[in-house]
Symmetry: C2
């Protein structure tokens, strides 16, 4: 069965979350059950881009990953869109045979069996600023599906309401490593990123968490935005 | 026995290396057996700053850490200078009793017994651009001293010669997680940091490693420089 793939690119570095800085090839799935107001990957979400999503079999995707990485096994980051809609099990099985590792990033609404075959599952519940509502029982099904696979929770923070949401999520899941990152309101690839504004948002988030005695989350920026702005494919 | 302490500050986030983004209080030891050409902490290294280093007993340091953290246990990062010159064993014992965790950053020239009491040892051998020479047998004594404590290697990269050094260090220690970070040539706190130049150095380092098929190191910037420039105490 073929998968809808918005883009495959790399190797580059993972720009955010628990694997920040790690060399990786990204496989971005097309299609999403969410429409976050500030989505930075609409080209993998909105159906008007559907004709740009290539139908690819697992072995064709793996071939592309191997070509990009020169056959050197590395981390493959499956993102989207919401990749959990599709069956990445065959790709993961194929890649792991060859020594590749797999991480997946998802909002936690759909819980496929292949989560249990990953090396890392990054769950990103969406805070109020996204305009989405979290279904915590669906989220918990994802945690159940992953089994013993290491997982982390990553939450984008734009404002105080998002922080309150993160606090509740943190309390719900005391055992999940927690990563917060400042929201990026500028997602137009044509507009150069304002690094001072980005530094300011990071500073604000540190002040609102660590500065107020909340010491659990790790606070990280999006490295790829610092280095490449909002360009695609890097 | 009292310790010479250049500064204690936080909580802030760890800006670099394996614990990047983690809330931490920094304890910066005064005194160093190295004089790296590009040192960004000369106030903890050069003897002309010696009169600014407070002699403090372990319990006084712990009191200060607890006051800064509001008594909430968190990660304490012992840095310098080279903290391995002094005996941080009593501080670590005191802090761990209260739930604090301890990381230490050192170049790997001196191997005290208390390395084995840490939660994380970050070894930063200095590349040629530093003007220093690495004594690998002393470095290995540090690895031996830490015992089962998790460790990582972090190397600052200014140029091609530094990259060649990092490649050799990586080969010597195949089991140590490896982090590379671009060098920061601007360390004057009075001069605002040039974020575009910083992004450019990060981009260069990604191109020189991942871009050339070297997929082992994680590539990370110094977050504190992005957020606070070269200010001290943050």
């Amino acid at each position: 069965m073929s998968l809808r793939i918005a883009e495959i690119f790399g190797p580059t570095i993972q720009g955010e979350g628990p694997l920040i800085g790690e060399p990786t090839v990204f496989v971005r799935a097309g299609g999403c059950d969410y429409r976050c107001l500030w989505c930075d990957s609409l080209h993998a979400v909105e159906s008007r881009y559907r004709h740009e999503w290539l139908p690819m079999e697992a072995d064709a995707i793996m071939e592309r990953i191997e070509a990009l990485s020169g056959g050197r096994p590395l981390l493959v980051s499956i993102s989207g869109g919401n990749p959990a809609i599709q069956d990445f099990g065959p790709l993961i099985a194929l890649g792991r045979q060859k020594g590749y590792r797999f991480a997946c990033e998802t909002q936690g609404t759909i819980a496929p069996l292949w989560f249990a075959d990953l090396d890392m599952l990054v769950l990103s519940p969406k805070p109020p600023s996204s305009g989405m509502e979290t279904d915590w029982s669906a989220f918990e099904a994802c945690i159940a599906a992953k089994g013993a696979v290491p997982a982390a929770m990553k939450i984008v923070i734009f404002d105080e309401a998002d922080l309150a949401f993160a606090r509740l999520a943190a309390e719900r899941y005391p055992d999940l490593p927690l990563f917060l990152q400042p929201g990026n309101g500028e997602t137009d690839p044509a507009i150069p990123v304002d690094l001072d504004a980005l530094a300011g948002r990071l500073s604000w988030l540190v002040a609102q968490t660590v500065g107020k005695g909340w010491l659990r989350p790790r606070i990280l920026p999006q490295l790829h935005v610092i280095v490449w702005g909002n360009q695609r494919g890097v």
